[in-house]
Symmetry: C4
Subunit: 221 residues, 4 copies
């Protein structure tokens, strides 16, 4: 028998949604903010006279091409990832009738994984050829998936889902998470062969989640 | 035929609005935060004894006038731009009856462009005489406009707009975006002659979008 | 006659409130974030051996007392200020029946002044004895007040205020802004004599706005 | 008799909740952002040739294990703490029928304590063996508790709580805060013996607040 505090703490879905939107908004904006660092870093390491050496604009173009462009891929991928999980969480919250303390804490764990995304993205952006960076990134994706799956499973058992969300739909929501987690794990494993292949596959899987071409088998998930 | 997940993922306009407000709020606040950098930078490069040399307050005033003031124009322009596009997106969202997954992703692409604003603004603020900075800034404005236009076009075709938003109004919303994008492109092109002219024109066009004097032909848009 | 776009752009009070809450939340959190800088700065300037010299915890205590404590006053004052203006704006928005494009832009100008608070606070925290820092801070307070006053005046004339907000109330809202702006101006002027007096007065006026003791004449405002 | 301004300023619970969600979202995201610092710091202090010395990925792994891992505990603990107090504040706000100016200011004081969490967490993360860091951290926990307790007490006396929140429930809410504050104080005191014991106890108490095993006596609170 829960105590009186636990009986009605954390029951507001609206505030959970608002906190989530705030955390996603800050994480998304901070992702891109990191793009500035390579330009400033390259500038700081350059001798002062080079800036006045007849081609300072070429220096900026050089920095953009050589220092910013290689970082764009990890950041775009992470923005996609945050978008995918934001849509996924929103779809779940819409299908719940109310929250409770346990469900709230599952989503707080989910948000913790969201706040870690800028960190694992910057690790990946620093050197895209390190397998350990991809391992950290994959652990982050795994944490996001595990939290969302736990949320679905708990809400289903604790009878917090609306009746409109039928059995078929609940199974579809869970299956989607599981299939994508297997795909992420497969992509991470390919980094043992080549990290570029791993990242290429991750981007491909995320684009599929967004665009969802009808032909692909993945779309069934 | 869409799968069951895609049929009702991302249908909440309220959460899309909340995420957007969060991203705009963070981007707007971070814009101005960058103003601190030139003061700190100038201070760090100065020999220690200069601060104690009988006029440390003059140093601060000097920094404000010579290092902060030239940066104010790009930041004010970007705040205006973010405000204009925030009002523009809000007006669109108010005219929709609901969202769906595709529309949500168009707006996530729009938000990606919003998060890039502090980056392109800081490029512009570093040296206002570089044409490549203006090119990057213009690309950012273009991305914002393309996303909002795509949203309108998609919502119109997918029958997501409310009936109150008549044919005339839908045309007016689209025309406004197109006209301003031509003006931005024209301003960016003038940077081939002189970058100050380009920025002056951009500020002028943004002020027109805000104040909307009745006399000007632009107001028809 | 306004064009069709202008007729219904920016009419949502709810989204204006949400954006404002976001901007205030980011500005408030960033204020305090700056407290870390002096500790890190003092640490970086100290020779490495001093940290291992038998009293590293005393170093931290020294830093907290000598480098963080003097900065606490400006930050606490700015948090108070942001709180006061947040309550003030909320009270206004609650008294409006709807927004329009012009009112939205007045509030965006207000939010621009809000985003400048962390900047003017850090100027003040760097050296509390500079009159120019207090002048910049006062200009920021002035901008906040002017924007809120303009909002009230415009909403009154454009008939956007609810009928429940009677004539007496509208006058009280305006008078409160004007009285406090005179007090801020007076405090800023005293910095010509002594900057500590100026800051002391500002803190006193802000505390009065918050606590509002019944005895004081200021409470009439 | 309050003046007309004070009579209806700050009465919106919805905006108070929205501002709180924003502040918590920013504070939670900034917490984790700090994890990047140790990696960058270690990298900056290393001679350039070491990165090219046949094992640059080992360097990253070394940094993650030796510089990031020890910081994970304070950050995870602070995320737990912010989550606990977010749920606690939400539960209170749900039990109020409306707000007023005094209650709003109590919650602004609470939010000030929330914004200080990233600062006290980073102090703790810098060196976990300093008693003064734990003292600062405990003061922060105390401020959070005092503010929430004051809010409950004020709302109870000012008749702002809903009738559904019975006498038993109000007592339970207050008791919970008091019991946990005693536990925090006890944990902080053990730092006089050993700081690791203090932090271990804090983590244990926070986990109990989250997981709330039925067996423990603490669960009565």
């Amino acid at each position: 028998m829960p105590t009186s505090y636990h009986r009605f703490a954390g029951s507001s879905l609206a505030r959970l949604a608002a906190l989530s939107d705030g955390v996603f908004a800050v994480a998304m904006t901070l992702l891109v903010l990191d793009l500035k660092a390579p330009v400033l870093h390259a500038r700081a390491q350059r001798p002062i006279w080079s800036a006045s050496g007849g081609g300072s604009e070429h220096v900026l173009i050089h920095d953009l091409v050589h220092h910013v462009a290689p970082h764009l891929l990890p950041y775009a991928m992470s923005f996609l990832t945050l978008g995918i999980f934001w849509v996924g969480q929103q779809t779940q919250l819409e299908s719940f009738t109310q929250s409770n303390r346990a469900l709230t804490w599952i989503h707080l764990a989910f948000l913790l994984a969201v706040t870690l995304m800028p960190f694992s993205t910057s690790l990946l952006a620093q050197d895209i050829t390190y397998r350990s960076s991809i391992a950290v990134y994959w652990l982050n994706l795994l944490a996001l998936g595990v939290a969302l799956f736990a949320s679905l499973r708990y809400a289903d058992r604790a009878d917090l889902m609306s009746d409109e969300t039928g059995v078929e739909m609940r199974a579809a929501l869970k299956r989607r998470i599981v299939v994508y987690q297997w795909l992420y794990a497969f992509a991470a494993l390919t980094s043992l062969v080549n990290t570029y292949v791993a990242i290429g596959l991750l981007v491909l899987f995320q684009l599929n989640a967004v665009i969802a071409p009808r032909i692909w088998i993945l779309d069934r998930a």
